[in-house]
Amino acid sequence: MSDSTINRLALKKDALFPLQRLHAYAQGLPVDRLPCVPIVGNTAARVLGVTVSSLRNNGKSLADAQVASYRRFGYDNIRVFTDLYTIAEGMGARIRVPEDETAFLAEPAIESVSRISGLRPVDPWRDGVLPEHLEAIKRVVQEVGNEVPVTAALTGPFTNASFLIGAVNLSRLVLKDPASVHSLCKLSLESALAYAEAIFDAGGMPSLTDAMSSSSVISPKQFEEFSYPYLKTLVDYIHSKSRPATLHICGKTSPIWDKMADTRADCISIDNDANLLDAKKKIGHRVRLMGNVHPSAIMLQGTPQDIRREVFKCVIAAHDNPKGFVVASGCSLPTETPFENIDAMLDAVRETGYPVNAGLLEEIVNNSL
């Protein structure tokens, strides 16, 4: 059955700026629609029409791209991000930067634990590409900071530790040499705190992301020992600046939801390997949820209709989350995500409107099957 005639709700234009919307939503006041964050990273290069690598070490281009992308799509959060490795690079990891793809780890900073003592936390105003990222934050804040929250990705200490000594190495050390894992995480924490402070000084807010803490990789007990304390310190730090903290962990996370909430993060962003309805039941009274349209299978490869349907499903599952809900992709979007798919995500949220009529959405989803 074609959805276009019968089952399309009126598409309303945004009436509020993101900051107004988020503020009102947090207070339980009327809003035009739910907040929506397709997590745009290097897709911003496509909006500006430049190569991916041209953003990484150029604050002006990075800012221009992020602002252009925000203006193009109208989502509710700008996240200055090029790749996960910027801090580790500042600490000595070797990063490969392909001309037009996301950068990746070529070689960890050290090969064995005997070298840990040679590692130093970063100086974000000096090391690697961090100064350019800070420059980008400043510029974005200057241009659009009065209408939209400006955040910068901050890689979690356990994940950063994996870039210092290699993921497989670190995984072994978790059982064989816990003290060294803690040393690497502590160094990473110091770097993260320094970068977080610099992000605040630049006018932005850090947003935590921690792939290796996933239950796809380490056990809930290992998370509790090697990741949780460091994430908690970062959240506490963000709160000391009277700012809200968002924590994203990729892959499977249901076994650690309670602990993620225990960090006192205000918003938890979950991936497509996790279930929004379950998350709502388990921790929805403690944290805002954000998620979880599949970044690749749906956002990259799906059609606008697929995206509309998946957004509705997420909204049905979590619109009544006690601490609120942000429609989002499960993780950063792949660079080549089609613009019309990002538009489709926002349009689906605009179409949903507020307050949400879940019954109506369910009917639409059922009819579109």
Partner: protein, 221 residues
């Protein structure tokens, strides 16, 4: 030597692998040799059995990556001791697998697990690492006279690298020389069929079963 006593050794090896106890594995492996127990069977019924049990715990989400890595370390410690004592014929005729993560992707935890379990299952595995160009993979497979090309990727954005490998094989008339198997997060049976691969498996233990099926349970040439 009574079967019973042998079995005690095998069970002890298997348990030590499962318990990530490298020291005990080495100790028992040395005793296996001293007692002139068949090294090949000690590998199969002891070390490999332990690794299979570890694989099962991983599927059940009781073991995670750290545990699996240490189990595999323990298994390799035993293999290093026992391998020189197994019958040469058996060694020479093992099927050979060339494995790699396709170009643009550096996720290698899953690939390492597949490599370990294939190794444990008796395949000879050549690891090309991560971020490997399709050409390089094919060249290595030819140079190594491999029987299997195993490709891993966790990113949708790099899946095409798998299709490229199959295509290069086809264009150079070498497609039938290798079984091509694929896996990783975004990969599915449908995708494997579409690019003309010989098989797909969702996990490392399943990859072993897949190869056994493709070779009709005979992993020896």
């Amino acid at each position: 030597m009574s079967d019973n006593k042998e079995q005690t050794f095998f069970t002890a090896l298997s348990d030590a692998v499962l318990n990530m106890d490298e020291g005990t594995v080495e100790e028992i492996a040395h005793r296996v040799i001293k007692e002139k127990i068949d090294a090949y069977r000690a590998i199969e019924n002891g070390l490999v059995d332990g690794m299979n049990r570890a694989g099962q715990l991983f599927e059940d989400e009781e073991y995670f990556i750290p545990e699996i890595l240490l189990c595999s370390d323990a298994m390799y410690a035993g293999l290093n001791i026992l391998n020189p004592y197994i019958n040469r014929e058996q060694q020479r005729t093992r099927k050979k697998v060339v494995i790699g993560v396709v170009e643009g992707d550096t996720h290698d935890i899953g690939k390492n697990l597949v490599k370990t379990l294939l190794d444990a299952a008796g395949f000879e595995v050549i690891d090309l690492g991560r971020d490997v160009q399709p050409r390089q993979i094919v060249d290595a497979a030819i140079a190594e006279h491999a029987d299997v090309i195993a490709l891993s990727t966790l990113m949708t954005t790099t899946m095409d690298g798998m299709a490229a490998v199959v295509q290069i094989l086809q264009e150079s008339g070498q497609r039938d020389a290798f079984k091509v198997i694929v896996g990783g997060g975004p990969i599915s049976q449908t995708f494997a069929d579409r690019i003309g691969a010989d098989g797909y498996a969702p996990s490392a233990p399943a990859a072993v079963k897949l190869l056994h099926k493709l070779f009709k349970d005979s992993i020896y040439v």
